[in-house]
Symmetry: C2
């Protein structure tokens, strides 16, 4: 008898099957007992009126690892519409004490510190597990869309020689008697690799030593990075953002319906063209609609973003809004200015339901422009020497963007804290589990 997965049971009606997993719950209703097995994909319930059937687990705690054999019966009122009858339970690994979080609850009732301290076990709960299954699906959809568009995957080094990109907020480590730093992003490497593959993407960890203790910051996260050449300007990049987001949500819709339903997630529609507004117009709009004069501010506040999100919903029926043309002063030195108005940049943020999700834009590509930009930013050229080599020997107009995987999940699922979208979060006070 082959072992099947819980989610395959409905294709085996009337057959005897074997399943393996964890003892998720045991309930007694009158003389009837329900034994729920959870495997890596779902749960299934076995029903019996015989106490003898339960004897193997009588002394054991939930989370014991078991094999369950029985006959699959279609049962419309059961969860998943199937049940196992005449169950036989075999214990694989007995557990003798109750888990630190009550995994058998439909909704896991535990405070954030408990959830995080015991994430090793808490992530087994179907709702917590669904978050990270969706993370897996988002990565798959991201890669699938880009590969179909002739992008090549790279894995760039995370150990770097200097805290070049922004200077601050970088982790330093001892490296064979000298210092090294952890990459804050693959920015320089993905640009360099445009010179090799023309179109590249990377999925990998980035490290930010930011001392922020907020619900929206962690110190290590997964960045979905894209960079490609031969663009017209940032609008070419924004069209790719749209395609990638549509690909991610399509992948989730097609392959992750159960997880989305369990989490009551509302997949957004990605419009054929995502609306955009210029940074200066956005500030003007906020002044006119809300009477708050943010004109001339160098950046948008979270409240500004929420207002713009509302406006995008009302004016365009869109969960998404590009804000384009951020002032050059707030963007990194490699940002390409707007040729018509060099105080503004060919960059963008994508707001998703009123919160920034993606940052991107066109980069400088001419060697002399880099030298001028570094001088203007009062930065020395020496730490950038190898990066600059890419531009010295020919780079096309190019640009790209980055999506924070955990932030995408947080916003998609309406989670109150980024840590709940992070498998094992790292913050100022947390390095375990």
């Amino acid at each position: 008898m082959n072992t099947i997965r819980t989610v395959e049971a409905s294709s085996h009606i009337g057959q005897q099957v074997r399943l393996t997993g964890w003892l998720h719950n045991v309930r007694r209703l009158g003389g009837v007992s329900f034994v729920v097995l959870r495997d890596g994909w779902g749960t299934i319930q076995a029903v019996t009126e015989s106490e003898a059937d339960l004897a193997p687990i009588a002394e054991l705690s939930l989370e014991s690892v078991i094999a369950l054999t029985g006959t699959v019966v279609a049962t419309p009122q059961a969860p998943g519409s199937v049940e196992l009858h005449q169950p036989q339970i075999e214990v694989i690994t007995p557990v003798m004490e109750p888990a630190p979080v009550p995994l058998q609850q439909k909704r896991l009732k535990a405070g954030l510190p408990t959830l995080l301290d015991h994430a090793v076990v808490a992530n087994r709960h179907p709702e917590r597990r669904a978050v990270f299954r969706l993370a897996s699906g988002a990565m798959a959809g991201f890669r699938k869309t880009l590969r179909a568009n002739h992008f090549t995957e790279i894995q760039s080094p995370k150990l770097v020689a200097s805290a070049t990109e922004s200077g601050a907020n970088v982790f330093k480590l001892e490296y064979f008697g000298g210092d090294a730093f952890l990459a804050q992003s693959p920015q320089f490497y993905k640009q360099i690799m445009v010179g090799v593959f023309a179109r590249v993407f990377e999925v990998g960890p980035v490290f930010r030593a930011e001392p922020h203790d907020t619900t929206r910051h962690v110190n290590e996260y997964v960045s979905l990075d894209v960079e490609f050449g031969f663009i017209e300007n940032h609008f070419t990049v924004m069209a790719m953002v749209r395609m990638v987001l549509a690909g991610i949500f399509q992948t989730l819709a097609e392959g992750y319906a159960e997880e989305l339903e369990l989490l009551k997630a509302n997949l957004p529609e990605v419009p054929a063209e995502i609306p955009h507004i210029h940074f200066a117009e956005a500030q003007e709009l906020i002044w006119q609609r809300h009477g708050v004069d943010v004109r001339g501010e160098p950046d948008l506040s979270p409240q500004d973003e929420r207002w713009l999100g509302e406006w995008a919903q009302q004016a365009h029926g869109s969960d998404f809004l590009f804000v384009v043309g951020y002032p050059m002063g707030k963007r990194p030195f490699y940002t390409h200015p707007d040729p018509q108005n060099p105080a503004y940049s060919n960059s963008f943020d994508l707001l998703f339901r009123g919160t920034e999700l993606i940052t991107g834009g066109q980069r400088l590509h001419v060697y002399a422009d880099y030298l001028a930009a570094l001088e203007k930013a009062n930065l020395p050229t020496e730490p950038f020497e190898t990066y600059l080599e890419a531009f010295r020997y020919g780079m096309p107009p190019h640009g790209g963007f980055a999506i924070g995987l955990e932030r995408l999940l947080m916003q998609l699922l309406g989670l109150p804290n980024l840590r709940l979208a992070t498998l094992f979060p790292r913050d100022q006070k947390r390095l375990t589990p």
Copy 2:
């Protein structure tokens, strides 16, 4: 007119097309000039007898970024069997000085230090690029095979609280006034996540502070990690290794023929069942065949592995050989012993053409066994507290393996140094580019 990629030209015979890329080479033969454009995927040559056609690039160096318009003509003797006629060249980004490595050479003639110092540019060479395109294909084949077998992708943290796994050879960093370490592998997290998803994989960087200066070591590499539950023993894991390798090589065969041909790579046949030999028998075999008495040694030497590789080829016609049952003393504390002979382990190495490529095995899964193993290894339990929580609350028999991406490429392509299979290698003396 749409811009096409070089590799698409043969589907546009007789049409006028536009291509964009780098000026890869210019050659003159009598009155005929050949202009070679390289894009992110291949090269194409344009032919002209008119000097005027070349005027836009007359003063420029190779690697200038250009657009090339012309008519595609089938030309069996040309590289790629097509040429562009009546070319028009438009300069996108001019380059004024020759590249630090001669990219236009068919085989890139440069010493290792030059290749590595100038990797930013050297990786543009078609042969160097092909290595990293194959890396991309190997990752894709790895993921595709595992997803088809119901594995879920995870991204585990690289910042960890203690140098737990082996103690030595770990990078330490300053973390908000305390210390953190860089993960040497996702070992603990992938095991923990078997408790959540039953079957998991990860592709990500690992960090080894090993002070080795050899052709086979770098200090950061990409690890392809697999872990799954409900196994019989290490032979279940070895069957999965076989499936994953076959999937990787099939993906390369189907989608990367040009790169393989360019690098004269010889894809191995993965036998339906990869032969295996017990560690003790392997030592006996070496004694009998080569008269070197390695019996009782705790590990195999590189020479031992080469001899065993030769034997696998002669006795089984196989590029691959599993050596199983390594002595427990040389394996990490979480290794599952051989129940029949507890001095040996349920672990394996896979030799590929006489060199170790993959290490894996069955792990302990019973909580009490972990406590005993830590005590035997003289390790405290406290740094392992959250890891142990997984086993305290029910883990199935499980195991897994890890493939070093760069080592796979090195052995597949017969490269003399692991650094040549690494995009931007990190070693004791090298943190740039």
